[in-house]
């Protein structure tokens, strides 16, 4: 299938994939309060508005705080779990690993409802901490998978070499394992950050009426009054995702991270 036909097929699908984003980008440039494409009286007016209009800056700040902290929690849970599964194996670590991956395999509404009743029972329903913790647990999967991949790529001889040179188990972890896994841990953090930023249903169910995030705000705007700011937020989200994944693609090995090869490196 290395024919021209194949390349054409890929190009057409990529074009279709990018098309809605182009339209949204165009819409965000409208001068007035309307969603036309091609845009009329093109200006960057709404880009400034996002950071000025009080009803958008709040959700913007909420989203950023939630994503930053939740991704940190996800890494904090995933890292010891990945290390444990890698260093010991065994039934317990398999069970834990499955638990870590499970939230991502199921329809998110189930997890969302689970968190809803949980926080209601604890009396934390509607608080930002609830959203953050829920996202943190929901997104454990991503750093768990990337970190495990990174750990599997480490040559066991490096660990033995460190031991023969006098390093204790803790020192081996600190001076060899963590530095080598760091790029994968950072990738995991980045994945979790981007996905938390875009997550809707859990944020909505756990604290949708009190802690508005950007996706919730966009959805509300879809119902109660369109504004080109929605286009602006979409453009920023797409831009951020491309930036993050692009960086991983440039500094890391994206095909390997997504499971293309089983080679060792490092």
């Amino acid at each position: 299938m290395r024919s021209r036909l194949g390349a054409f097929y890929v190009a057409v699908l990529m074009l279709l994939l990018v098309l809605p984003l182009v339209v949204v980008g165009g819409v965000s440039l409208n001068g007035g309060q309307n969603l036309r494409f091609p845009p009329q009286d093109a200006s960057f007016r709404w880009y400034g508005e996002l950071f000025r209009a009080a009803d958008w800056t709040g959700p913007l700040r909420n989203s950023l705080v939630i994503a930053a902290v939740a991704a940190l929690i996800a890494v904090a849970v995933a890292l010891p779990l990945a290390l444990h599964a890698w260093g010991r194996g065994g039934a317990l670590s398999r069970v834990l690993y499955t638990l870590g991956v499970a939230p991502f395999m199921l329809p998110p509404v189930i997890t969302a409802l689970g968190f809803l009743v949980f926080w209601v029972a604890l009396g934390m329903y509607g608080q930002m901490a609830a959203t953050i913790l829920s996202h943190g647990i929901f997104l454990v999967t991503l750093p768990l998978v990337t970190t495990s991949l990174g750990l599997q790529g480490i040559d066991p001889a490096l660990l033995e070499a460190a031991r023969t040179m006098g390093a204790t188990r803790g020192q081996v972890l600190r001076t060899v394992v963590l530095p080598l896994a760091l790029p994968y841990i950072i990738s995991g953090y980045a994945f979790a950050f981007v996905l938390s930023l875009n997550e809707y249903i859990i944020a909505y169910m756990v604290a949708g009426f009190t802690v508005e995030t950007l996706p919730i705000k966009i959805f509300n705007s879809l119902r109660y009054g369109y504004s080109p700011i929605m286009g602006v937020v979409s453009v920023l989200f797409v831009g951020l995702a491309i930036l993050v994944y692009g960086a991983i693609g440039i500094f890391g090995n994206l095909p390997r991270l997504l499971g293309a090869e089983q080679v060792r490196e490092g």
């Binding site: 299938m1 024919s3 194949g6 390349a7 994939l17 098309l19 809605p20 339209v23 949204v24 165009g26 819409v27 969603l35 036309r36 494409f37 010891p80 779990l81 290390l83 444990h84 890698w86 010991r88 670590s93 638990l99 199921l106 329809p107 998110p108 509404v109 189930i110 409802l113 689970g114 968190f115 009743v117 209601v120 829920s134 647990i137 454990v140 033995e160 188990r169 394992v177 996905l195 930023l197 875009n198 809707y200 909505y204 949708g208 996706p215 966009i218 959805f219 879809l222 286009g231 979409s234 995702a241 491309i242 994944y245 693609g249 994206l254 095909p255 997504l258 499971g259 293309a260 090869e261």
Partner: protein, 284 residues
Amino acid sequence: MSGRDAATPTWLGLIPGVVLAALFLVPFGIMLAVSVALRDPSGSGFYTWGFELQSYARVFTFFVGRILFVSMTIAAGAAVISVALALPFTVILAQMSRRAQTVILVILLSVLSLSEVIIGFSVSTLLSQTAGVGNLLALLRITEQPRAYTPSLFALMTGLCYLTFPYSVLVLYPPVARLDPELVEASRTMGASPLRTFFGVTVPLLRAPILGALILVFVFALGSYLLPQVLGRPEHWTLSVHITDQAVYQSNLPFAAAMAVVLLLAALALVGLALLVARERRAA
């Protein structure tokens, strides 16, 4: 990982163990308890603890049955279309240079991580009266007047395919990328055309991964919540929408929980099936 002792201390597993048990298993346990709790008739609180199967009785009614049927049909349709489009795409992608692969993967990942809200908004804008397709067709004088194509089943399916296509590619990517290229080359040297090779060699070799991908994409589409509301009509609403509706607007948590438990069991069964299929492939 020396021959003498493990690379990590034992207590390291305790942290994720405790956290996941407390924040993941306990919520599911509570949800299970809520699904058999008594609905508070006063409407002030959500429910009172107790045991009754009334919520489950309601799940197995014609009303919920139809919702489940609609959800599954829509999800299955989206899964089949997406995987059918994604399979040749992935096969070609895996043969590209690492650079080209990285660029395309970056775009796919970016689209995949986009909020359903944004995808819904983008597709609805594209299909709206004032922007995108409607406008374009009017400009080209194919139609008299710009018209909107949303909300409709067509818009919903477009949105769902847009949502699931990158996911399908990424699910198919590992098995396709690890496929021995010599098998395909062997077929080519024996005179088979690229198309014939694709259907005669590549597809049969990938039968198990394709089946696994279909199931996973189906579950993924089943979970979509915003697209049916933004792009579809009320009759296209999925179980996810109804669960949220019951939980948040009707304040009927026990019923919502019962539906979620049923959805959970269905999804678990399907994911288990997908994993089983994948394992059989490895054993073969």
